[in-house]
Structures are given as structure tokens and as C-alpha cells.
Amino acid sequence: MGSVLIEQLRKDFSGLTVLQDINLDIKEGEFFALLGPSGCGKTTTMRCIAGFETPTSGTIKIGDKNVANLAPNERNCGMVFQSYALFPHMNVFDNVAYSLNIKELKKSNFFKKAGVYTRMLNSKIVKYPQHIERKVMDILEYVELTEHAKKLTSELSGGQQQRVALARALVMEPEVLLMDEPLSNLDLKLRHTMRNTIRRIQQDLKITTIFVTHDQEEAMSMADRIAVMKDGKILQVGTPTDLYSNPNTPFIADFVGTSNILSGKVVGSEKGETIVQIGNQQIKSSAQTDKKDVQVIIRPENINVLNGAPDNFGNSFEGTIHLATYLGSIVRYDVRVGEHQLLIDTTYESGDSIKKNGSTIRLGVSPERVLLI
């Protein structure tokens, strides 16, 4: 149980194909991210799993069980909505207890049912039984919201609301936890905190989690594996380091982290290194390729500034600084090399000086750091 297997999923909306050829094999306990630009079909994929959309074709299995004929309320997928979707007419406790009430409703007799109903409409009239009380308080403690239990959800800050949404999904002990951009409403600091909270909880509880985001940093920092989507298709699935080091398309190279992407032509090879002509420059790469027209990809942090240091990088050029951007621990230079523009990241330590616009620098890149696609 807990694993999610998607085969050949396709979804059309009134004739328009929004998803196609989606194949995913998400393992039990895995923290899996769906990453991609706005409109690429992440939410739709998620909603197919949760059962809010019916796939046009293809199968979805949750823990060996084909869920095609199960209604959303029978799938046992916890979902954290982008907008949190907290019930504004209930307090935090009632929100979290909602799914437990529903469960109780299913197995009890008529009179108890009436009691549960009343409780769901007004929890002041009918009290919660001990086991629910305890379970809810446990989970609230877990997300550090114990003292906010009786507050209305509108009285909470964004991060607290997010944790209520999480608690509400977790308390039902779902087989799969689905989260649709749960952090996009939060500010940077809070986002970092919540990332840690979510990851800690997920690792503690080992719930299979699928996480939608369009923020590559978020996906990179949280996920065990990432599927990068574009235009309704999956481009690549892999661990964060995989995607970063071996993007299989220029799109991914650029989307996952920042990249310098240059078009070039293979003109030969030398000592196992491929030589590529870019404009009037040549560059060596240790990557092998059969193609003639290639995209050359170099990460900004893989370009070194040679402050008079020896030129032993295999590739070296001269450039003029066009713009220097200070990013805290990093300084990013926008450098013009011939007719090309390159981004270069250098670590910055207090006391280092930032180079002036217009000054000339020498750059070095080792062939292993030059990717060809």
C-alpha cells in the first residue's frame, strides 16, 4: 500500500489534451515533486490521483488497487490545497476533526449519527468523544498548534493556516498525501520554515507524498525525486542531483537552477574531448555526442574567475563585466564574452570586494563541467 503507479494517463478538457503519456511510479514513503511552469498540468495530474478529475484514458493505482471506479471520498488520499481550503465556519479543532467525524458517521447507528451531525454543525452542543479529542490534539501538537485549537481559522497567520491544512490531511492517516503548491502563498522566511516542518513530518510518518510546485528551489530542496513537466508531458524524472547534473533538455537545464545555454556545432574531438564551435569561440567538453548541432550548457557556478590564478581549466576566455548582482552569499556577474552573455556565480565572503562594471576578467571552465545536449 501507499505506492502510486500511473500508466499512460491522458486527460482531455473539451477536446484539448492537457495531459498525455504520463507514466509515474512513485514508491511507498517517497517524497515526490511535480515541477513545471504554470499551466503545464501539475494540478490536473494531482486532481486525477485524488479523483476530482476523471482521466480520459490510462490507469492509476494506489497501492496495487486500481482506483478508476473509486469516488474521491473513497480513495483515502489526503490533500493539502493550495488555498488551504480550511472551513471558515469551523475552528481549528473542528477542521482537523472533520475526517474523523465522517468516519464515525459511517459506522454508527441512527442516534449516534444525529449526534455526529450536530457536532459537525456546532461542536459546542455535542462534545467530541475521547478518542477523537486525543487524536486531534496529538496531531495539533505535532504541527505545534495546540494552543490555537479553539481559534477560528481566519485568526491564524498564513503559516499556521498551512499547518492546519496539513494536520487536517494527516489526521485521516491517508495512504497518499497530495500537496498542491502549499507554500506559494507564504513569504520567503516562512516558506523556508514550512519546508523544514513538512519534510520532518513526512520523514517521521513515512507517508507517500506528492508535491506540486513551480518553484525549482522548493522541489530541489524537499523532494526525493522530481518529475519535470512541460505542456502536459513529463520530460524527466530523477533525483534532484540527477536533474541538476544531467538535464536531458535545455529546458530542464534552465528550469532546474540557472544555466548558460549556448548553441554550437561540433567541429571535432581531441583526447576524448569534444570540441564545439560557438560563434568565433571554441570550447572543449568531456561529454560525448553524435549530434552535430548541440546546446552547450554551463552552470554559472562552474565558471571560475581567474584572479591571476593559473589557467589550468582546459577552457579559458576573457570577458567584460556588464552587471554585478549581490545575492548575499553569492555575487552573480553578468559577463560579456564576445557576442555572448554569460552568468557567473562566485561565492562572496565578507571583506571580498565586488568587481566593477566594465572591468575585464579571465574565466576558466573545466571540460567536465560543460554539458552537451
Binding site: G78, F81, P88, I102, R168
Partner: protein, 569 residues
């Protein structure tokens, strides 16, 4: 200094004008009718302000003030019974309307039920028909020799299916002809709840109807409660139905008030009834506000919501059938009115004894003026209320002017008869002798229907973010220029929506018209009412049909015009 000047040249001046308008035409008339309840005779408030002599008279009148009328209210059982009956009726009607509207509103707001558009369109028809006509149509249908009764008897029934000459009869007419007032606000109430809340609920294991009961319904409840107030007020102040059905043992407070003033010039009696009606409406309004405190959910999230509609046949088909039955009754009534309008005579038989267009011919020769009057008056009221509502909603939303907000709600709860009485008594003497002019009619209509307009424009205004206007100001525009070049155009959809309601309800309005319309400005609705009172039902029916046609045609035109303009929404 500069700011001061700016305030008084631009929006500040307009705000002052609006306050003046409400003071003059709403607050002072209502206050003076309150005084009349003590003095028993008309008081000339404005006269007292301009003439010392008149002031002396007024002071004398006030010296002689008594509590007799209030005592009479409780010692004469009839007023008191009228009040109780009215309360009972309005309560029953509001509850039933609520029950009837929930499924239809849900169907329209949240499902893809078959014939949704047709049903929505048909739901405006009952709004157009004056109630005394619908009541009369009810007699033709359900009365002793009505065609429904005929069918019922043919099918083996005894007597009448429903006795129209009873409280039940009145309630049924009101329910079926007033429900559209509640329907559209309720549709809006269902639309506010974020679809993702329902998905969250289902995601946590709850089935469709369980979700409805525990999430959708509680969220729509505040909207429903305020809708209830509207229906309560409309039912409480309707006198067309009871006057036509006239059960032999039922008096209602509005009817009493109407009779006191328009039958017996009993100012004291009318005033006390007016004061009581306003008080009751005020209490209901307060109660609603009290219940709704802290329950305003309508600002759930700033993100645009995508509404997914329910397509489940097991739900939508019953909903369509139910909605169909509900709209069927007013439609049948309308058909009945139409038949009546082309009948030579329609006696005890299920169908008219012959057909003719004579009644229409008569109207076109003798009542063309009334049609014209209706259009001019409704048009005037429309423009006036649109202009006022635009600025009022600006002040309410942007400057949080709760006073204005409250003032524009008063007309919603003051029964038309009461308001008419207040206006006549204030404006029938110098220096502001306006009764008998078209102007006071237009003003009265605008004030009465302003709440509908304001609700619509305030909604749109809320949707226009403040920063859009600030952007205009930061680009150098004065607040007035910003309001006219940016806010105004953006409010057009809201104004259009409100306009339809204002126009429809003004064109059929009777309570104020009966009291105040001079002959040369008599609108259609008044002509119909007078025809009904003279028992000239055939021409009354024909006029009603024309009224409905005019409204439908104008509405179609308005839809066309605003439809060509959708790109800005």
C-alpha cells in the same frame, strides 16, 4: 487648505449632496410621520423652518400631542391583530421561500441542470407582475369556478384545491411571486463558497450530500439570512394580494394603513401604523445583523475561483423537475392573465366564453399615456438611483461610510405604503410642495429601489481593488476624475445588473404610486390597480401583459447591449 478646497469641490461636495438628499426625502419624512403619530394631524416640517407662523402652529400641534394613538393600538384589538397577522404571514412566506429557493439556487449556482437557462429566465417573470394581478390570476385558477378547480373536480376532488380567500391563499401567491427576490441573492450566496472547500470535504471522505450539509449550506447561511430579510420586508409590505383575495377574517397591518390614509384621511392612525411597521422592520433588520455578526465569509480568497459544476444526473434531473414546478405556477398564472386579456367574458366556465382584442385596442386608445408615464418614471428612477448608488457604493466601500450604508438599507425595510404616507405628509404643503409632481414620484421610486441597486454596485465596487483608483490618483488624477474615468466604467456591469431589478420593480410598483401619482403622471401599474378596483379586470389583464412584454423586450435589449461589451469583465 488645499485639501479642504479639494474636498468641497469634488467628491466631498457630492457626498454632502447625497446626505442632503437622504435627509430631505427619507429621514425627515420618516421623522415627521413619527411626530404625526402623536399629533394626529399633518405637520409641516419644512414650513416651520421657513415661516415663523407655521412654526407656531407646529409648536401648538406638538403641545397637544397625545399618546392616544399608541393606546389605541393596543386597546383597539384590530390594529394589534393586524400586526400579529402580518408577522405570521411574513414569517411563513419567508420560510417557505427559503425552502423553495435552496434547491433552485443550488441548481443554478452549482450544477449543470438541464434547462438551466430557461428556468433562470423564467424566474424573472414573477417579478414583473403586480401582485394584485397575480392574486387575481390565482382566483381565476384556484377560485370556486377557476380552471384548476374545474380540473380538480373532474378528477374527483371536492370543493377547491386551495382556498384562495384565506391566509394560505395569500401566502401561496406571495411565495410563488416573491421567490425571485430571494433567488438571485441566494445564487450568489452559493457561489461564494470556494469549490475547493467542497473538494476538501470530499477528499476527507464525505459524500456529496454530507458535504452539502456540513460545508456548502453553513457557508451560504449568512447570505440566506439576509435574503430572508428581503422577503420578509417584501411580504410584510405587500398589500396587493390581501386586498384582492380579501379573506373574510383577516386584516393585515399594511392594508389597515393603506385604508386609513387612502380611505379615511386618518393621519394619526396611518402614522401610528407606519411607525409600527418601520419598527418591526427595524427589529428584523437588527436581528439579522445580530445573527450575522462575525459570519461574513464572502472574502475567502483573493484568487479567482474556478467553479466546477455538478453534472450528476441523479441530482440535476430532480432539481430541474422541482424548479420547473415552481416556475410553472407563476407561468400558468401569467398564461391565465393573458387569456383573461383576450376574453370577451370569462364567467364560471373553465375557459373564456369568447376571444377579442378589444381590451388591447382600448388600452392603445386610452392608456398610451400610462405606458409612456411608466417608461419615463422608471427611466428617471433608474438614472437617479444609478447615479446615487454609484457614489454611495463608492463612499460605502472606499470611505467605509456606515451611515450611508445604513441609510440606503432603510428603504428596504420601510413598507412602500409607509414611505408613501411619510412623503405625502411632508411634501403636500408649501414651501416644498412636491406631491403631484413627477419629480417626487421619481425620487420616491429611486429611494425605494435604491437598496437593490446599491447591493449590486457595492458588490462590484468591492471587486474593484482600491489600488486601481490609487493608481489613477498617483498618476495625477483628482479623486473625482479617478472616480469618473476609472471606477465608473468598471462598475458598469454592476450598474447594469442593478438597473434591471430597479426598472422591473419600479415599473410594477404600486404602493407609492397609489398614494402619490397625479393623474397626468399615472403609470401603468396605477392604471392597472384602478382598473382592478373598478373590477375592470379584462383591461387590467391586458395592461399587465403589455407591462410584462415591455419589461422582457427592454431586458433583452439590455442583455444584447451589455453582451457586446463582455471583453472588459
Amino acid at each position: 487648505m488645499n485639501k479642504f478646497k479639494q474636498n468641497f469641490m469634488g467628491l466631498g461636495l457630492i457626498k454632502l449632496l447625497i446626505y442632503g438628499f437622504f435627509l430631505l426625502f427619507l429621514i425627515i419624512p420618516l421623522l415627521s410621520v413619527f411626530l404625526v403619530a402623536f399629533t394626529d394631524e399633518p405637520i409641516n416640517v419644512f414650513g416651520s423652518l421657513v415661516s415663523w407662523e407655521q412654526m407656531q402652529i407646529t409648536i401648538d400641534q406638538l403641545k397637544n400631542a397625545t399618546l392616544d394613538n399608541f393606546k389605541a393600538m393596543f386597546t383597539y384589538g384590530s390594529y394589534f391583530r393586524g400586526l400579529i397577522n402580518s408577522l405570521k404571514l411574513s414569517l411563513i412566506v419567508s420560510l417557505w421561500v427559503l425552502i423553495i429557493c435552496i434547491p433552485i439556487a443550488y441548481g443554478i449556482a452549482r450544477t449543470k441542470m438541464p434547462f438551466k437557462r430557461t428556468i433562470s429566465a423564467l424566474c424573472t417573470v414573477p417579478l414583473v407582475i403586480p401582485t394584485f394581478i397575480s392574486a387575481y390570476a390565482f382566483i381565476i385558477m384556484f377560485g370556486r369556478s377557476g380552471w384548476v378547480t374545474y380540473i380538480y373536480e373532474k378528477m374527483g376532488g371536492e370543493g377547491m384545491l386551495i382556498d384562495p380567500y384565506s391566509m394560505t391563499g395569500i401566502a401561496i401567491v406571495q411565495i410563488f411571486f416573491f421567490f425571485p427576490y430571494a433567488l438571485w441573492p441566494m445564487v450568489a450566496a452559493f457561489k461564494i463558497s470556494d469549490i475547493s472547500l467542497e473538494e476538501a470535504s470530499r477528499n476527507m471522505g464525505s459524500r456529496g450530500w454530507l458535504t452539502f450539509i456540513t460545508v456548502t449550506f453553513p457557508l451560504a447561511l449568512p447570505g440566506m439570512l439576509s435574503t430572508l430579510l428581503v422577503i420578509f420586508a417584501v411580504s410584510f409590505s405587500d398589500f396587493g394580494t390581501p386586498i384582492i383575495l380579501a379573506p373574510n377574517d383577516l386584516n393585515l397591518i399594511v392594508v389597515d394603513a393603506y385604508r386609513e390614509i387612502s380611505g379615511f384621511f386618518n393621519w394619526g392612525g396611518a402614522a401610528i401604523l407606519t411607525v409600527i411597521m418601520i419598527a418591526v422592520a427595524g427589529v428584523v433588520y437588527w436581528l439579522q445583523n445580530y445573527l450575522l455578526k462575525d459570519k461574513n465569509y464572502d472574502v475567502l480568497s483573493g484568487k479567482p475561483k474556478q467553479v466546477k459544476l455538478n453534472k450528476n444526473k441523479a441530482l440535476t434531473i430532480p432539481l430541474t423537475i422541482f424548479s420547473g414546478i415552481v416556475v410553472l405556477i407563476p407561468i400558468l398564472a401569467m398564461i391565465t392573465v393573458f387569456l383573461q386579456s383576450i376574453a370577451t367574458t370569462w364567467g364560471r366556465d373553465p375557459l373564456p366564453s369568447g376571444y377579442t382584442f378589444d381590451h388591447y385596442r382600448t388600452i392603445f386608445t386610452s392608456s398610451l399615456g400610462n405606458i409612456q408615464n411608466s417608461l419615463v418614471l422608471a427611466g428617471g428612477a433608474l438614472i437617479l438611483s444609478a447615479v446615487i448608488a454609484t457614489f454611495v457604493s463608492y463612499f460605502v466601500v472606499r470611505q467605509r461610510s456606515t451611515t450611508l450604508d445604513f441609510m440606503t438599507t432603510i428603504p428596504l425595510i420601510v413598507p412602500g405604503i409607509a414611505f408613501g404616507i411619510a412623503l405625502i405628509q411632508t411634501f403636500n404643503t408649501a414651501p416644498l410642495q412636491l406631491t403631484g409632481t413627477a419629480l417626487i414620484l421619481i425620487i420616491a421610486y429611486s429611494i425605494r429601489r435604491l437598496p437593490y441597486m446599491v447591493r449590486s454596485t457595492v458588490g462590484t465596487m468591492r471587486a474593484i481593488k482600491q489600488d486601481i483608483e490609487e493608481a489613477a490618483v498617483s498618476l495625477g488624477a483628482s479623486t473625482l476624475t479617478a472616480a469618473t474615468t476609472v471606477v465608473g466604467p468598471l462598475m458598469l456591469p454592476g450598474i447594469a445588473a442593478g438597473s434591471i431589478l430597479v426598472f422591473v420593480t419600479v415599473i410594477k410598483e404600486t404602493s407609492v404610486s397609489i398614494l402619490m401619482a397625479p393623474a397626468e403622471w399615472a403609470p401603468m401599474s396605477l392604471a392597472i390597480f384602478q382598473n382592478v378596483l373598478r373590477a375592470e379586470y379584462y383591461s387590467a389583464a391586458a395592461m399587465s401583459v403589455i407591462l410584462v412584454i415591455i419589461v422582457l423586450v427592454l431586458q433583452a435589449i439590455a442583455n444584447k447591449l451589455s453582451g457586446g461589451n463582455k471583453s472588459h469583465e
